[in-house]
C-alpha cells in the first residue's frame, strides 16, 4: 500500500501585517512592511531598537479571567489556531474543536520567555509574591499548548520542536511524517513566537540585526529584523479529508531536513545542508527543480545566511529550472524564529493557490548569483505547479517543504481514525548509554543562597573530562558533555562506526530544563551589566538545540537532528520521532538522547513551587541517557513495541484521568516499572499499582529526579531487564506538567 498523501485543509495566521491569513497575505503581496519601535520591553541599551510587532486582537470570545492568565505567546497563537480549525471545518458553534482527540506538532524557540524573564528579575530583586509560581508554571512551551487545549476543548499527543529558526518547517514536516507513517490521520501543525527581551538582546549582541531596513538578498544587507507571529496548518491524510468532506487547499508533497555541522551560528558557505534538504523534499515529491515555480527563501538578510542560500539556489536551480521565482518575506514581517517556517509555508501555499508572488523588498543591488530569479514588486500572477519553502536555523537545522496543487484521484491508503500504540515496525534498542550522578547526595545552593540536597555528576570523571578538550563544545555547559558521553556509549554499544553509519545517523534530543544554565547566565548578565554588555559568546548556547547541534558535530552525525521539548514526556515524543523516521525509511539508525543539568536558578524554581521543601522526597539530579534504535527484527533481544502519548493534564483530577486512560491502553500488561519515585506522581502511581496488582521488577537504582534524563535511565534499565523477564514490560513516563506517556518493551531471551 502506498503511503498516504498528506493534504492541507486549514490554515491560520497572526502576523505583524494582519490578524488572519487573508489580511496578512493581501498586505504582503501589496509590498507592505512593518518596522516599528519595539515597545514590548525596554530596548534602550540595544544597538537596534526596531522590530515587527503584532497589534494583538481583542478576544471577546475568551473569558476575561482566562485571558488574563494567557501569556503573549498564547494570545498570538489562539487566534491563528482558531482560524485554522475553522477553515478545516473543525470548530463547533461554541468555538470548541469538534475532535476531542487531536495530535499536535508545533514549534517555538522561546515559548512564553517573558514570564521567565520577569521571574528572574524578581528573584534577583528578592521580590516575593504569588505571581512567581504562575510565571514558573507557564513559561515553558507546553503550557501555551495546554492553554490551547483548554480553550478549544481537546486533548491529544503533543510534540514541540525547538530546532531554532527551522522549527516551524520541522513541525509541519513531522506532522506529515506521522500521517505518512500511519501514526495519525490528522495533525495540527505550526509555530508561534512572541518578541521577548532575552532573544532580542541576544540577536542585538551578535550584531545580527540591522539598524537600517531589512534587505534580504541585497549586496549591502547588514542584518535581520526580528518579528513575532503565529501560524497553524491542519494536515490530514487525503482519504481522511475526503471521507469527512473537507476542502483541500493543497498537498504537502515533500519534506527534507538535514543538519549543517559547519558552525553553531554560521551556515556552510556553499549551503550543502540546505541543498540536501531541498533535494530530499523534491525526491519525496517525485519532482525536479524545474517543477518549482516559486520558492519562499529563509532570507534573513544577514551576510552569511543569504550568501549560503544564494550558493545553494544557484546550484540547484540551473538550466531549465533557472526560471524559479524566489523571495524572502522577512523584510515585511521580520524573522519570527519558531513561527517562521510555519508562516512562510502558508505564504508558499498561498502563492501556489493564487499564482501571486510575494515581492522582495528593499533591494537596491541584488546578489548577482540569483538576481534574475528574485521576485520584484508588481510581477504578474503565474500558474504554478509546485512551490517550496526553506528554513535554516542556529545549530544547523535545515528544512525544505514542497507544496503541490491537489488533484482529486483515488485516495492513497486507508483512513486511520484512531492512533494506535503498536509500532509498525517495532524498534530495536541496539545500544544504551548513561551518565548518572554520584551515589552520595550533595548540597547545592540556589541563587537565593539556600542549600538543598541534590544528586550531581562529577564532571572531572575521566570519561567526561576528555570532552572538555573538544573545541566545538568549549562554550557549552555541562549538559552537552553529559549528553555527548551518553551518546558515545550508546553508539559504541551498538557496534561503533563499523555498524552505525555516522554519515546518516539521525539524532533526536529531548529536553526539559535544557540549556537553563546558559540561559540563566546570559540573562543575569543582561540584568546586572545592561543590554549593551550582553555576551555574544553565551547567547548561542541559550538556543535550545545547541547541545543537539554540538552532538551532531562532535559525533560527525550527518543525518537529520531534532530537539524536542516539554516535561519528562519529551522522551517519549523523541522516541516517536525516531519511530517515524525509521518507519518511513529515512535513516537506518537513530540516536535518542536526553540530558538534564542542575543549576542554582532551577533550585530556586523548585523551591518556589514547593517541590523542594524540608524533608521532601524530591531530590533533583543531573545526567544524561541515550539509546540507539533501528527497525527491529523478530529475534532482537530488546524491542520497543508500543508508544503511548497524549494523556495531557493540568490539575490533579485531569492527571488521575490521564493515568487511568494511559493504563487502559495496555490491558494485557502485568509488569510495570515504578518510575515516579520522588516526583509529584508518586502517590498516584502507587495507587494504580495497588489497584491493578502490577508486578514491579526490583532493583532500579534511585538516582534522584532528572526529568527527561530520568525517563532515559528508566528506559535503559528496563531494557536490561526484559530479555530475562520474557514478558512485556511497561515503562510509564510521568510528565509532571504536560502529558503522561509510556513505552512498551518486549524481550527475547537466549539470543
Amino acid at each position: 500500500m502506498n503511503n498516504p498523501t498528506v493534504v492541507i485543509t486549514g490554515i491560520g495566521a497572526v502576523t505583524p501585517l494582519g490578524l488572519n491569513v487573508a489580511s496578512s497575505w493581501q498586505r504582503l503581496i501589496a509590498g507592505a512592511e512593518v518596522r516599528t519601535p519595539v515597545t514590548l520591553f525596554d530596548v534602550s541599551g540595544c544597538r537596534c531598537q526596531r522590530g515587527a510587532q503584532v497589534s494583538l486582537p481583542d478576544m471577546p470570545e475568551v473569558d476575561p479571567r482566562r485571558l488574563r492568565r494567557w501569556s503573549r505567546a498564547t494570545r498570538l497563537a489562539a487566534p491563528a489556531f482558531r482560524e485554522a480549525l475553522a477553515m478545516a471545518g473543525m470548530l463547533d458553534a461554541g468555538g470548541f474543536s469538534t475532535r476531542k482527540h487531536l495530535t499536535l506538532s508545533v514549534s517555538t524557540t522561546g515559548g512564553a520567555m517573558a514570564l521567565a524573564e520577569h521571574y528572574l528579575r524578581g528573584l534577583l530583586a528578592q521580590r516575593r509574591g504569588p505571581g512567581r509560581v504562575f510565571e514558573l508554571a507557564h513559561y515553558q512551551a507546553h503550557h501555551q499548548i495546554l492553554d490551547l487545549q483548554d480553550h478549544f476543548g481537546f486533548r491529544g499527543p503533543l510534540s514541540i520542536f525547538a530546532n531554532a529558526c527551522a522549527s516551524g518547517a520541522n513541525a509541519i514536516g513531522h506532522g506529515a511524517d506521522l500521517i505518512r507513517a500511519g501514526l495519525a490521520d490528522l495533525v495540527v501543525t505550526g509555530g508561534y513566537e512572541p518578541l521577548t527581551e532575552l532573544i532580542y538582546v541576544g540577536f542585538d549582541c551578535l550584531q545580527a540585526m540591522s539598524t537600517d531596513k531589512c534587505r534580504p538578498f541585497d549586496t549591502a544587507r547588514n542584518g535581520l529584523m526580528l518579528g513575532e507571529a503565529a501560524a497553524f496548518l491542519v494536515l490530514e491524510s487525503e482519504a481522511h479529508a475526503r471521507q469527512r468532506g473537507a476542502d483541500i487547499l493543497g498537498v504537502v508533497a515533500g519534506y527534507g531536513h538535514s543538519t549543517d555541522i559547519n558552525h553553531l551560528t554560521q551556515p556552510h558557505p556553499r549551503g550543502v545542508a540546505l541543498l540536501s534538504a531541498m533535494r530530499q523534499a523534491l525526491a519525496e515529491a517525485n519532482l525536479t527543480p524545474n517543477n518549482i515555480g516559486y520558492l519562499n527563501a529563509h532570507g534573513t538578510a544577514t551576510p552569511l545566511n543569504d550568501a549560503s542560500e544564494c550558493a545553494a539556489f544557484a546550484e540547484l536551480f540551473t538550466g531549465d529550472s533557472a526560471n524559479v521565482r524566489i523571495s524572502s518575506t522577512k523584510a515585511a514581517i521580520g524573522h519570527t524564529l519558531g513561527a517562521a517556517g510555519a508562516i512562510e509555508a502558508i505564504f508558499a501555499l498561498q502563492a501556489l493557490r493564487t499564482g501571486v508572488l510575494p515581492p522582495n523588498l528593499n533591494i537596491r543591488q541584488a546578489e548577482t548569483a540569483i538576481a534574475a530569479r528574485l521576485v520584484t514588486e508588481g510581477e504578474r500572477p503565474v500558474s504554478l505547479r509546485a512551490t517550496m519553502s526553506v528554513n535554516l536555523g542556529f545549530g544547523g537545522a535545515n528544512a525544505a517543504l514542497v507544496f503541490t496543487k491537489y488533484m482529486e484521484g483515488e485516495p492513497s491508503g486507508e483512513p486511520r481514525l484512531s492512533r494506535g500504540i503498536a509500532l509498525q515496525p517495532p524498534l530495536a534498542i541496539v545500544g544504551v548509554g548513561t551518565v548518572q550522578p554520584e551515589s552520595e547526595t550533595q548540597h547545592m545552593a540556589g541563587l537565593a543562597g539556600r542549600e538543598w540536597p541534590v544528586r550531581r555528576v562529577n564532571g572531572q570523571r575521566p570519561e567526561l573530562a576528555r570532552w572538555q578538550t573538544e573545541t566545538r563544545v568549549r562554550r557549552a555547559s555541562g549538559l552537552t558533555v553529559f549528553m555527548l558521553e551518553a551518546a558515545r556509549q550508546a553508539v559504541d554499544a551498538a557496534g561503533g562506526a563499523s555498524v552505525v553509519n555516522r554519515a546518516t545517523l539521525g539524532i533526536v534530543a529531548a529536553y526539559h530544563t535544557g540549556v537553563l544554565a546558559s540561559t540563566g547566565k546570559f540573562f543575569q548578565n543582561v540584568i546586572k551589566d545592561g543590554q549593551r554588555f550582553a555576551s555574544p559568546n553565551v547567547f548561542p548556547e541559550t538556543v535550545f538545540n545547541s547541545p543537539t547541534s554540538h552532538l551532531a558535530a562532535v559525533l560527525g552525525a550527518g543525518g537529520p537532528s531534532y530537539s524536542v521539548v516539554a516535561d519528562e514526556s519529551a522522551w517519549v515524543s523523541a522516541l516517536q520521532v525516531a519511530a517515524t523516521w525509521l518507519a518511513n525509511g529515512l535513516v537506518e539508525h537513530v540516536l535518542v538522547v536526553a540530558g538534564e543539568e542542575l543549576d542554582p536558578l532551577a533550585l530556586d524554581a523548585y523551591a518556589t513551587v514547593r517541590w523542594l521543601r524540608r524533608g521532601g522526597a524530591f531530590v533533583p539530579a543531573e545526567g544524561a541517557g541515550a539509546v540507539v534504535l533501528r527497525r527491529a527484527a523478530a529475534n532482537d533481544p530488546v524491542r520497543i513495541t508500543g508508544l503511548a502519548e497524549g494523556f495531557t493534564h493540568r490539575n490533579k483530577a485531569q492527571a488521575h484521568s490521564a493515568a487511568a486512560q494511559l493504563f487502559a491502553r495496555f490491558p494485557g500488561v502485568r509488569d510495570v516499572c515504578l518510575t515516579a519515585t520522588g516526583t509529584v506522581w508518586a502517590g498516584l502511581e502507587r495507587e494504580f499499582h495497588a489497584r491493578h496488582s502490577f508486578q514491579v521488577p526490583a532493583g532500579r537504582p534511585d538516582c534522584g529526579a532528572a526529568f527527561v534524563a530520568s525517563a532515559a535511565w528508566q528506559t535503559t534499565w528496563a531494557a536490561a531487564q526484559v530479555p530475562a523477564l520474557g514478558r512485556q514490560l511497561l515503562v510509564p513516563v510521568w510528565g509532571h506538567s504536560a502529558q503522561c506517556s509510556a513505552l512498551l518493551l518486549a524481550g527475547t531471551s537466549g539470543t
Partner: protein, 91 residues
C-alpha cells in the same frame, strides 16, 4: 589611555573567551585568530569588543577595526594606548 599591561589583557581574554588554552602560553604576539592561533572565532571577536568596552569604556566601532586591533594582545595594547582616555571610564 594609560598603559595597559599584557597581563591585564590576558586576563580580559580569559574572562571573556572560554578557552581551554594554558593562559601562560599566550604572549603579546600569539595570534588570536586563524592558523597557528589560539583558535578564536567570530563570536569571540564580538565578545572581545564587548569586554573591551565594558572594562576600558572604549568601543571598537566596526569589524574592520576589530580585525586590525584583535590580531594579538600586542596590537590590542598598542591600539588602546592610542585611544583618548574616555574620562576615566576604566573600571
Amino acid at each position: 589611555m594609560p598603559n595597559v599591561s599584557i597581563d591585564d589583557l590576558r586576563k580580559l581574554l580569559i574572562d571573556n573567551c572560554i578557552l581551554k588554552t594554558n593562559p601562560a602560553a599566550i604572549t603579546a604576539s600569539t595570534p588570536l585568530f586563524g592558523p597557528d592561533s589560539i583558535g578564536l572565532d567570530s563570536l569571540d571577536a564580538l565578545q572581545m569588543t564587548v569586554g573591551i568596552e565594558q572594562r576600558y569604556g572604549i568601543p571598537i566601532k566596526d569589524s574592520e577595526t576589530a580585525r586590525k586591533v584583535l590580531q594579538d594582545l600586542g596590537t590590542l595594547r598598542q591600539w588602546l594606548a592610542e585611544q583618548p582616555d574616555p574620562n576615566g571610564a576604566a573600571k
